[in-house]
Symmetry: C2
Subunit: 361 residues, 2 copies
């Protein structure tokens, strides 16, 4: 909002807005073509209700994709199509946690997690990531587990850090969860899975039995406003509970036109080249300016250490907008969204230099 | 589900399925054309997030329509675009009721109301409609009001009774609510507003200040699976609470392509001729068969008195599927959905006669 107001005053080109997380890579043409083609079908059938879990055909397409891509057995009965990852996670929280239970989140984390956990009458328990690598600090998770722990939520590639949790990190986490004396669900929020720069994103259900994966088309197909995604859950009891809680939250079915498109385009790979270009430009610039950051392995966020206490304000004074890390549950860092035009990054360089000159004086 | 199974066994044409509530009137061509035209816009902007309450332009179109149609002042700030009426009502319930409060529903009623009320940790309180006319029994509502009553939900035209609450009925209800010694919200669920057969549907905010209206495109545009609708609420505090509760329920924004179409098509009138034909056929047949029913004024449901105790089962024995009234909170009636083909009604006549012959012997 501040960004929009400021742009009105000083002009759009003079505000360097790195605060947003709207995908910039274009929506794949095949998605648009699929939507148009579907609109030629009989509209009454096309727009009719589907069952709550989604059209059978769509659930099958998603399950087939999972089976083939991760060499992991998935069936349509494991797929619940949702109105985006938000509804997915909100429903999963209500399904697996009851009043008074705890859900562990890895800080820094997407702030909505705590809204959805609290809506399930459960309590979010923050566990700091490793402060150097921003991988999961598995020992800290272990220390935070109590007899009230219902679940752990992880997000890889991570918003806001850009980290991808390594296979070893996931294995270590699984060992800790398996050691617990009751069942703990591992909820994987994976909207950025396909936005990565070469490092593999482990398919977590392979490593831990009680895994529930939430995914969406928002970033992959660059259509976050369309609200389409799915839950993968092969635990029948949890699946039925998700269905029940989704209903209570006002979910009838995921929007059916986008369901059908989503199923047909589930194997589409996004073009991450613009993000990759931006990522390289920014990390090179930060190297030159002496700003410390976490190696951005996925998503389109760069997580960097504030060189001084009022750094976010100093940036704002030069019309550079970034998100302070306290929005994500920790102090002393800031987030840059590099889902912006490459031109804006190039144009911002002088402003960044001035900010750093101010910091160093 | 039974219907689908049975159709597989005896053939689609031999099952007379009056149990469903899926619109049959075709989706207006203008809606399809609008969707296709929107898909020619720049996809990244088209599919981007909107703010939670919906695109400004869409909220303005809806507010303008309300102002013009009901001669009632509505502004975009009163409109919250939702993922269908279900999300609308679920969010409104969480917004206006707190744990331990009560929400009055007029039986027979849409069963999901109680799911959404309970999700808000409130208690549904059933008040029977007038047993002859199925208008609101205002004295019974008055008797049911306690200091814990947060809201009353009404649904006009009504699913399952087909009744439209008259202006006098709404005025009487308003008087009772105004007499209460605390603020009680009147939540109007109005997806069938435009599906009526000549009788006016009063615009309730004109009669009662604390009215919140929930509406959707599901029946009007024959696209229930697309999940698009809105809340009208001119109480700023309640509006902000709806925004907060929608967020907690996993709502980020209503699907944006359908938002845009919905705004542009908000003044489209549905073709109710197929429903009207079916309505006349069925009431004539029921008159001949001696089955008592409530005058169907709106929606596409006929609410009729069971001539005997096991009537629904007797229908089922002749492959006529209807919904027993206990699904809607009362005994001794059944619901027919006449959003079916006229041909099916004609074909079902012999089966109806046989059922009634069985009843009368």
């Amino acid at each position: 909002m501040y960004g929009l107001e400021r742009k009105k005053i000083v002009g759009e080109d003079n505000v360097y807005d790195f605060s947003i997380g709207n995908p910039r890579s274009t929506t794949p043409q095949v998605a648009t073509d699929t939507l148009k083609k579907l609109l030629d079908e009989d509209p009454v059938s096309l727009h009719a209700y589907s069952v709550a879990a989604g059209h059978d055909e769509v659930r099958e397409q998603i399950a087939d994709y999972i089976s083939k891509t991760y060499d992991y057995p998935a069936s349509p009965e494991n797929i619940f199509v949702t109105t985006g990852a938000a509804e997915a996670i909100a429903s999963v929280m209500c399904a697996i946690a009851v009043e008074g239970e705890e859900v562990i989140v890895i800080a820094p984390y997407f702030p909505e997690y705590s809204v959805w956990i609290k809506n399930a009458l459960a309590t979010p328990v923050e566990v700091m990531a490793d402060p150097e690598t921003f991988q999961i600090d598995v020992n800290a998770v272990k220390a935070a587990i109590t007899d009230k722990t219902a679940a752990v939520i992880i997000n890889s590639p991570c918003n806001p850090t850009g980290a991808i949790y390594s296979e070893q990190n996931i294995k270590d986490l699984s060992a800790v969860l398996n050691d617990a004396d009751h069942k703990i669900y591992l909820v994987c929020d994976e909207p950025y899975r396909k936005i990565n720069y070469g490092k593999a994103v482990p398919w977590v259900p392979k490593y831990y039995e009680h895994t529930i994966v939430c995914d969406s088309a928002s970033k992959t197909l660059s259509m976050p406003g369309e609200r389409i995604g799915h839950v993968f859950c092969n635990d029948k009891k949890a699946f039925d509970a998700i269905s029940g809680s989704a209903r209570a939250l006002g979910h009838v079915c995921a929007p059916v036109l986008f369901q059908r498109m989503y199923g047909k385009c589930i194997d589409v790979q996004p073009d991450v080249s613009v993000y990759d270009t931006n990522r390289k430009l920014l990390t090179k610039m930060f190297d030159e300016l002496g700003i410390t950051y976490v190696d951005p392995q996925g998503a389109f966020y760069l997580w960097a250490k504030s060189p001084c206490e009022d750094f976010v304000q100093k940036c704002m004074d030069r019309d550079i907008l970034v998100v302070p890390s306290d929005s994500f549950g920790i102090q002393g860092w800031f987030r840059i969204g590099y889902c912006v035009s490459t031109e804006m990054i190039l144009n911002s360089m002088l402003a960044w230099k001035r900010v750093m000159a101010n910091v160093n004086n």
